[in-house]
Amino acid sequence: MLRFLLRRLAQAAVVMFVISLLSFSIQDNLGDPLRELVGQRVSEAERDVLREQMGLNDPFLVQYWRFLGRAVEGDLGDSYFFKRPALEVILDKFPATVELVLGASVIILFFSVPAGVYCAIRPRALFSRLMMGASIVGISVPVFLTAIMLIYIFSIQLGWMPSFGRGETVDVGGWGTGLLTADGLWHLILPSISLASIMLPLFIRLIRAEMLEVLHTEYIRFATAKGLSRYRIWFLHALKNTLLPVITVGGVQIGTMIAYTILTETVFQWPGMGFMFLEAVNRVDTPLIIAYLIVVGLIFVITNTLVDLVYGLVNPTVQLAGRQE
């Protein structure tokens, strides 16, 4: 176990290093940060003076070495726009994104399991067919469109829901949460639904397919022959084994979902990391872009490690990498 974690930690370090190198090397193609910092009438000569002051004229390796030196100490540079350490800016935006992903995950969990199971048990029922049809539509409609439609229906036409932002938040030990205020929860609903809209159909289909497969296995037939109640077979024996691959996919998808928040956050003006990243790209705020990519890389590594650990707990026959030899 310890060996497994250590190995993962070493892998994480390599991943971080590669991401930083890659993001650092593309920064020249992102545009000229100076252009976003100065007005249009400032001459090229003056921009060059500023560039020199900021160390942007140094050779690539010099800049990268300087960056690495600071990164080791936990300093990923200052954001040009926010004028604060990039990591601090990201941590500030982190709660908003996590709560959005949490909201979407709750929706996915509560709808995909019952719907998926039902579609597997009653594959020919009208509801199942409707569900399968709807899920195809759900997968193909871009989040952007779903979000705009939700705003149009629930904010403009019906006037029920707020159209943007995070509402009122309270600070709990440095974590600005919107989950504890009524206004905050109210603002969370539409963005969560939009974000869930891409993953929900995927999970319904996944659970249905897995469940169908499990229902055709020997041990289920044996259990039926033995005369166990149908509900016991479905929800105890079959569902448990269905969920194994779902956990794997789910873990990986949480990482993806954090990436997907970029679109949802942009449409809803949700003050999270995704929106911040998009803006950073528009403003060529390179230190912030690099820091974001590194943090997201780290999140992927952590979620994958957790999935492996959970998987080992759920299914004892699976061995962690460290114990294999």
Binding site: F82, L158, F164, V267, Q269
Partner: protein, 530 residues
Amino acid sequence: MIRKLKRLAGASALAPAMLAACLATGLAVGPVTAQANTLRMAYDADPVSLDPHEQLSGGTLQLSHMVFDPLVRWTQELGFEPRLAESWERLDENTVRFKLRQGVKFHSGGEMTADDVIWTYQRLLESPDFKGLFTPFKAMNKVDEHTVDWVTDGPYPLVLHQATYIFPMDSGFYSGDDANGNPKATLKKHGDTFASKNASGTGPFTITAREQGVRVEFARFADYWDTASPGNVSEIVFTPIKENATRVAALLSGDVDFIAPVPPTDLARIEQNEGTELVTMSGTRIITFQMNQNRREEFKNPKVRQAIVYAINNVGIAKKIMKGFATPGAQQGPTGYAGYKASLQPRYDLAKAKQLMADAGYEDGFSITMMAPNNRYVNDAKIAEAVAGMLAKIGIKVDLKTMPKAQYWPKFDERAADMMMIGWHSDTEDSANFSEFLTMCPDADSGAGQYNSGNYCNPKVDELIVSSRTETDEGKRAAILQEVEQILHDEAAFVPLHWQNLAWAARSGVGIADVVNVMNFPYLGDLVVE
């Protein structure tokens, strides 16, 4: 609204906590809007910094007009209106004397004097963004506590234009060191400076809370000097909403009272919608294409350049692509500017364009490259595509590349394509500024023609523009600038497309029509909300 929420909550069988939540929001929103003096506004971006000298941009000037006051400001008719300068007079060719208003209080409580104005002016001269505006000036001298003399190097016609950029800062407030031991007056592009996070001016509003990129809250300054102002907004909650559709939705759903900019696709909808009002103005930013004569031998021939101008139906572009939300033009400066010549009108004529190509010896056409940004100007990429299509009709094959502005500007600096798009707004609100940056012979030393990617160069134009700088007789100066426009038109120095219009929208009862202007810095201190 509350009943609706109740019904919804009941119908979907939400937990009791949720029901309470809905009620709480409903009730909380009620009284706030009833007071009606809180203005909730949404722009596409929030100010980069609270330091009025850090970046010369629309956002900075909008903020400056809220937290600070200028010496003089523009009226809607492009005249000048006294603000912190009560009056002014020209003492001699090179000197204008400004009498400052007395009894004007800064947010910190101190009184504004000539020292603050001079302090601010000195600081402007250190700002990379702003100092360029003040190159014709020699000094600003204190006469007494409430009088300053502003001295130019020679006769200079635009003294008042530049005075609109002087927003006196509270020199007492910005003196000394901040918590980190750095001087509070420090002006830095991307630094954690005192001035970028704190502000004290004389303006109608003070900043009470700010979370960058999320919201800024303003409260009306109790000791604001302009007691004659009809403005009755006591608080402003400013939210940046980047996405056009969301910004419009926020207005239509009543979540905000005032939005800008309004995307062309939603103009009709807001106008027809009950409860919202739209205000539009013909803008001052000209969108053009430049034809690079250093890259293409063909473009040195005025006939080819004329053929291109004749081939491009800019009236059609303004109508179809811009949905009428642009004023097609045939010169640099818009109507209202000194150099505007009414006789210069768009000249789309395909037959004539083909004839000119034939006369120039290019009946078979040629191939060129073109670049345009895709997120800088309204519909920029679509306009470039349309222009490329129109040029194909006279045999010019266009290889078009569009890209985000962040990547476009470095390409523009490299002059990386034969035709490049550039939009320009004159920050002096004067015609000469267009030529200085776009059509004068490029000269790295003087800074002339910095954005002239076409390398169009006519010594006569340069001469005229230089003479306009020292001509203080308005009539003579206008004649000079109009001659420039005529020459540029005749020689087809560049391809003029249109001036981008401006639009603002608000809920009915918010009197934005009286406070907006073509510079796009609404005077929110004077805003009346019913």
